[in-house]
């Protein structure tokens, strides 16, 4: 009796993708703080919000919609990856894998690209925003009156869900590569033996 084929990389990717989704509701992927939490940005593809001057946190409707797209994407990819991983040799498995393995990578790349774009745009405005670590943000002179200068400590840091998302993306790629191995093994394995008819 042959054991059931399971794509363990896919199974791990599916589980971690769903874990990333849940954790991201509570912990941002990247956090930016200015001063003593005067301005705080919690950014993740799942839940992005802004806190300004200690007031209630708010989000931007378009970003909220993009966050919802990421939530649905992560949910669908995680579940489809799990279904695929438990049935990697079925005729439809390649379609399931093709659907689920790319999207966490796309979300991760889009998120990092978005952050880099923000940092570049801020740079054009004369403000330095660190992706990781701390620096002193000096408000450009054209924003304030002469004889006055304003600066603040600004800190940016990636949080645990970001690193878990990288792990999930890496496992998705591994699952895709391992699928080729499973498919090859499946092709090479002999057809199951048929029991000869017994005549009495």
């Amino acid at each position: 009796m042959m054991g059931r084929s399971i794509n363990w990389f896919g199974l791990s990717a599916g589980i971690i993708t769903l874990i990333v989704l849940v954790i991201s509701f509570y912990v941002p992927w990247w956090q930016l703080t200015i001063g003593q939490n005067l301005i705080k940005v919690d950014a993740s593809p799942v839940n992005t919000n802004f806190g300004v001057f200690g007031g209630a946190q708010f989000t931007i409707p378009l970003i909220w919609a993009l966050n919802l797209i990421s939530i649905l994407t992560f949910t669908a990819c995680g579940l489809v990856m799990l279904v695929y991983s438990l049935n990697p040799t079925k005729s439809y498995s390649k379609q399931l894998l093709g659907f689920s393995y790319k999207k966490p990578i796309y979300v991760l790349i889009s998120f990092v690209a978005g952050l880099v774009a923000i940092v570049i745009i801020a740079g054009f405005l004369g403000m330095s925003i660190p992706l990781m670590g701390s620096t002193t943000l000096i408000l450009p002179a054209h924003f304030i009156s002469s004889g006055l200068s304003i600066s603040a400590l600004i800190s940016g840091s990636f949080q645990l869900p970001f690193y878990l998302a990288i792990a999930a993306a890496a496992l998705c790629i591994a699952a895709r590569l391992f699928h080729s191995h499973i498919a090859k093994t499946e092709t090479l394995s002999p057809p199951p033996k048929t029991t000869p008819a017994v005549s009495i």
Binding site: I34, G35, P61, G147, L148, I150
Partner: protein, 177 residues
């Protein structure tokens, strides 16, 4: 399986288009609201508590003890925020307003915490150079006091450092008659 492929393609389209169409429908009468929520408008228009944020303001006359040279300058600060604000540093150089001669430095003795919505008087003190003050007195006999200004005022409010090159009309040091 074509059916699986079609189903997954439809799912992908729904996942992407659903939220975008939904939020566009909700904001159909105000598409700018998609990227410009009321909180941002309030911040830009000065309606938020943060925009009422002001650097500490001078209040009253400086208290000067001619015997010891000790001086105390008082600042008034209102915390418009909904969380505690810490003033970790407040320092300046005291100058004679007329001659621009440096009389000494003043600084905050210890950090001050201000609760949300509260106004506090922050006393910043230091010891002035009595020889310089005596020289100014000798140059201007009969004057009751020395008008002062502040230079290089540095304030660290809630982690934000504010530097002002000059604060004119910081009051008058009363000299003993």
């Amino acid at each position: 399986m074509d059916k699986v492929k079609i189903a997954l393609t439809v799912l992908s389209i729904l996942i992407i288009m659903g939220p975008l169409v939904g939020v566009a429908y909700v904001y159909r009468n105000n598409l700018l609201g998609l990227v410009d929520p009321p909180q941002v408008k309030s911040l830009v228009n000065g309606g938020s508590s943060g925009s009422q944020f002001q650097t500490p303001q001078l209040v009253g006359e400086p208290q000067y003890n001619a015997q010891t040279g000790a001086v105390t300058v008082s600042f008034n600060f209102t915390n418009p925020l909904t969380n505690n604000v810490s003033i970790d540093n407040l320092s300046a150089e005291v100058l004679s307003a007329e001659s621009g001669v440096s009389l000494g430095n003043i600084s905050l003795n210890q950090p001050v915490q201000i609760a949300p919505g509260e106004t506090s008087i922050i006393n910043v003190s230091g010891i002035l150079n009595q020889n310089t003050i005596s020289q100014l007195e000798a140059q201007n006999p009969g004057v009751n006091g020395i008008n002062i200004s502040l230079a290089n005022l540095n304030a660290d409010v809630a982690g934000v450092n504010v530097h002002m090159n000059q604060v004119n009309n910081a009051g008058q040091l009363q000299l003993p008659g």
